[in-house]
């Protein structure tokens, strides 16, 4: 008997561990689709330990990098200043024209009240770690459940969309970038309003697949979130069209998009403390029905940003 145990022991342990990892993958997929609760403590502890250590480790590297980039920035500051002043003047002039048009059409008051409704509280967070595996695109940020961050919250920078929170511990959160192969965002071309789905392909570019083949799109067009996917609010910048091509045998066309945010050099980001209706349905699937209507994920978020119950019907396919 001990001889038999010795003989089958190693293969048995290997088989059990292989099975365990496969069951983990299957159950993780199911939990993503059905529950999406914050991480249990024994998983959260890895994020809790890693985030502060990664922050400490990256501090001296960031410091050195900062010294170099500060010097380079100083060299360009005069010309940059001139360019920005010119740009501000242009934007102010455009703004004036838009306001004039709105006032004359009597829509200004309505736009102002809409702005109040959709204003979403933002939480600044620092990126402390990046996914090393080149096949996934995610980052670790130093804000977690204690700061009101929950899975499903969009992450942005002033330049545009970064991704969405997928897991949180008390003081850290994992964010899936829009570049990840599992990411899909309902988007539209700002100029022509042509709609489609923007997918990550695991590289530094994105692919925008149009709903209609004859969609009006040209190189240089800006692509923004449509708001229909139920994850990101409408109008956030996603990127710019750099190339157009056929979708290999399918009836649609694909535009290659350069992301608006340099996702390889993320430092500071903002977490939007509001979940869209799709994510709310996903992440509250196992909760009581009375919890469902409010997409607000943290207690300190003002009630006026709550989406109406009808918003929940507008769920799309964003992830």
């Amino acid at each position: 008997m001990p001889d038999l145990l010795k003989r089958v022991g190693a293969p048995l342990v290997v088989a059990v561990l292989l099975l365990l990892t496969i069951i983990s993958m299957v159950s993780d997929r199911r939990s993503e689709e059905e529950v999406g609760e914050p991480l249990p403590w024994w998983q959260a502890i890895v994020l809790e330990v890693s985030a502060p250590i990664e922050r400490i480790v990256s501090a001296p590297i960031d410091g050195l990098k900062g010294l170099f980039t500060d010097y380079v920035d100083l060299l360009n500051v005069r010309s940059e200043n001139r360019r920005l002043k010119r740009r501000i003047a242009e934007i102010e002039s455009e703004n004036l024209q838009f306001r004039e048009a709105l006032v004359s059409s009597g829509h200004l008051a309505r736009v102002a009240s809409m702005r109040d409704e959709i204003e979403i509280p933002m939480l600044p967070a620092e990126v402390v770690g990046l996914d090393v595996a080149p096949w996934f695109r995610s980052v670790l940020v130093d804000r977690g459940a204690q700061h009101g961050v929950e899975p499903g919250h969009p992450v942005i920078t002033p330049e545009g969309v970064v991704g969405v929170i997928t897991a949180t511990s008390n003081h850290a959160a994992k964010t899936m970038l829009i570049l990840d192969r599992q990411s899909a965002v309902d988007a539209l071309v700002q100029r022509s309003r042509a709609r489609g789905v923007l997918r990550g392909v695991g590289r530094s570019r994105l692919e925008f697949e149009f709903v209609v083949r004859s969609a009006d799109v040209v190189v240089g067009d800006e692509v923004v979130t449509s708001g229909l996917g139920g994850v990101y609010p409408k109008g956030l910048r996603l990127g710019r069209v750099t190339e157009l091509r056929d979708a290999g045998g399918r009836l649609t066309r694909i535009a290659v998009i350069e992301p608006a945010v340099d996702l390889g050099r993320l430092e500071q980001v903002f977490v939007m403390l509001r979940r869209g209706p799709t994510m709310d349905l996903l992440y509250h699937a196992n909760r009581a029905e009375e919890d469902l209507p409010g997409p607000i994920s943290s207690g300190h978020v003002p009630p006026e940003v709550s989406a109406s119950a009808e918003d929940a019907d507008e769920r799309g396919e964003e992830r």
Partner: protein, 181 residues
């Protein structure tokens, strides 16, 4: 037990360090240090089962910090560990060049395995040339870092193992009962 804990600690430290390093050295050029610890354990660790018990939790820890499915890196690290453990008992992987070639090849196997499991369990994209190109850069980074990382694991094994464990444990393969010391 002491060696087990130290190697596990080393693997976890490598995991945290590589996350911070990736902010400066973007993927695929940032080496997967924690995976190299797993490979080092497979190549240099005397005990077969105890090595498994280091490799799998390190894989799960990586899953938590990565955008992968839970268990995906654990699965691939288990495969990597098994391959390294078997290869080190069948082939002469004592020199830097053979280890470099082994690490290079295993990085590709890892990439294809990740793509296959992503496609199968998450339905995310399909396997493409892109997987191979990103794996190529990653493989070069891993080969460069493999020398110091595997030497570090070897040093920990020698320093912290007691005499009994330090002997290369026999690996029993299949029904034939072929024992490779």
């Amino acid at each position: 037990m002491k060696a087990f804990l130290v190697v596990f600690g080393l693997g976890f430290a490598a995991l945290v360090l590589q996350g911070a390093l990736a902010l400066t050295i973007p993927p695929p050029w940032c080496p997967d240090l924690a995976w190299l610890v797993v490979i080092g354990i497979g190549l240099r660790w005397p005990g077969f089962l105890s090595g498994l018990l280091v490799a799998v939790p390190l894989g799960y820890a990586m899953d938590l910090l990565s955008g992968s499915l839970m268990g995906q890196h654990a699965f691939m690290r288990l495969i990597s560990y098994l391959t390294a453990a078997v290869a080190s008992r069948q082939l002469d992987l004592s020199g830097g060049v053979p280890v470099g070639i082994f690490v290079f090849a295993m990085t590709f196997v890892y990439g294809v395995g990740i793509a296959a499991t992503s496609s199968f369990f998450a339905g995310a994209g399909t396997m493409s040339v892109d997987i191979l190109t990103s794996s190529f850069g990653h493989a070069i980074a891993n080969v460069v870092a493999s020398g110091p990382m595997i030497a570090l694991v070897e040093r920990v094994v020698v320093r912290f193992s007691d005499d009994e464990v330090a002997r290369r444990a026999p690996l029993i393969l299949g029904r034939s009962g072929g024992v490779i010391a």
